[in-house]
């Protein structure tokens, strides 16, 4: 069982946490402007990298707060944890993709 460093409580057992999937997936600013393909991307498509991944965790059995983390999906090591709000330190993800194709 690995220790996950909650930004507020410090390292705690993995079983105290809930996984929330990819971080930095933002609700579309103008939902009516989206076509089916863009909706599908928002609802169903997520990144699935082998390596560092920016994702969301909740410390459900502790402070009950959500936070973001960059974790290596091969070693499972937490490379960094940070509060919700600041941008993705990896600079990857849906938001950037949408802007790039906008």
């Amino acid at each position: 069982m690995q220790l996950i460093p909650c930004p507020w409580c410090g390292p705690r057992e993995e079983t105290e946490f809930h996984y929330g999937g990819q971080a930095h997936v933002e609700h579309p600013a103008d939902p009516h402007a989206l076509d089916d393909e863009q909706w599908a991307q928002y609802v169903f498509f997520r990144d699935n990298p082998k390596g560092p991944f920016a994702e969301r965790w909740a410390h459900t059995a502790g402070c009950r707060r959500w936070f973001n983390a960059v974790r290596d999906t091969v070693s499972y090591e937490f490379l960094t944890v940070y509060p919700v709000g600041p941008p993705n330190p990896l600079g990857t993800g849906t938001r950037e993709r949408q802007e790039a194709t906008a």
Partner: protein, 408 residues
Amino acid sequence: MTPDAHDLPDHPDFLWRNADPKKSYDVVIVGGGGHGLATAYYLAKNHGITNIAVLEKGWLAGGNMARNTTIIRSNYLWDESSGIYESSLKLWETLEQDLDYPILFSQRGVLNLAHNLQDVRDSKRRVYANQLNGIDAEWLEPDEVAKVCPIVNTSPDVRYPVHGATYQPRAGIAKHDYVAWGFARRCDAYGIDLIQNCEVTGIDVSGGRVTGVRTTRGRIAAGKVALAAAGHTSVLAQMVGLRLPLQSHPLQALVSELLEPVHPTVVMSNAVHVYVSQAHKGELVMGAGIDSYNGYGQRGAFHIIERQMAAALELFPVFARAHMLRTWGGIVDTTPDASPIVGLTPVEDLYLNCGWGTGGFKATPGVGWAYAHTIATGEPHDTNAPFTLDRFTTGALVDEHGAAAVAH
């Protein structure tokens, strides 16, 4: 030693050549698991295409094919799933003769337990749907469950009492390694190259058409490229800029020491997350749920195994003194509707077979058949036509969470 153990057949002296890559092939299949091998076999057998390479980054069938709990069944809810899983089960029933190789397909039946009133209703609904699709399925009351599998604890005084079960008598298990080796041997006899230690590191596309692959053993030109890489499909698709609705997760299983025959069937419980059968040699084979997080590490968290064992002990108190021998993990690719994606891609001559998640072993011959048809003709087979990538855009999902995830 169980009586069965003496029956484990010997292998022939020769299974397959350890081929080196040629410069070019008509079809390159990425991934030498059960799906890749079955696809190559049916491409040769049904479509006369034999200039094929199956590229495997590790050892042949060493991925999920070597790690799964080998449960085979077709009692899914929707017509689309019945189409693909039942066509596969029919192929399993004659596969041993077809491959001329022992695969120890044992139709010992599967019980899917119901633990509360809603489970009971959902299970009965699935039984009726199965029956309408011509699939053998029955609803069993707790006393009938106890007749099929006497070691299941059907006492009402447990935390998750058994309120009954669906039963598919034709379901069962097969010896996964033998299945792979049986397909590999026949592929080799057709002249198909099975190339191990050959990782695909790039996919070449020119003018919207796939032209070949880059590998750790050099570039290989290809008329068509067919992915069959299970949990690593996102990594490969990314090479051509294709984003997929897949999430890769660790999925764990374990085996006990050898026991006398005690467990005559397959028992699965979605609610408490364990599925158990007894292998031909005598080990109890038990699978768990997926780890919640994405992972490619081929190992999972210990607390998942703890929960799995707790569930197993509640259902089977008789296992309390059995020793666990080993645990392992595979990497499974899950989709939002718990159904696979098999078919064409936006890149011409590049084909996709993925998203089988926790339950693709049972589909091995069926998807091999359908995928071979898709690759050979450029059109989906009837059975894989509903499992397109664009169902996530059109909304024509095949939601099998109730019948598939996490238990399969």
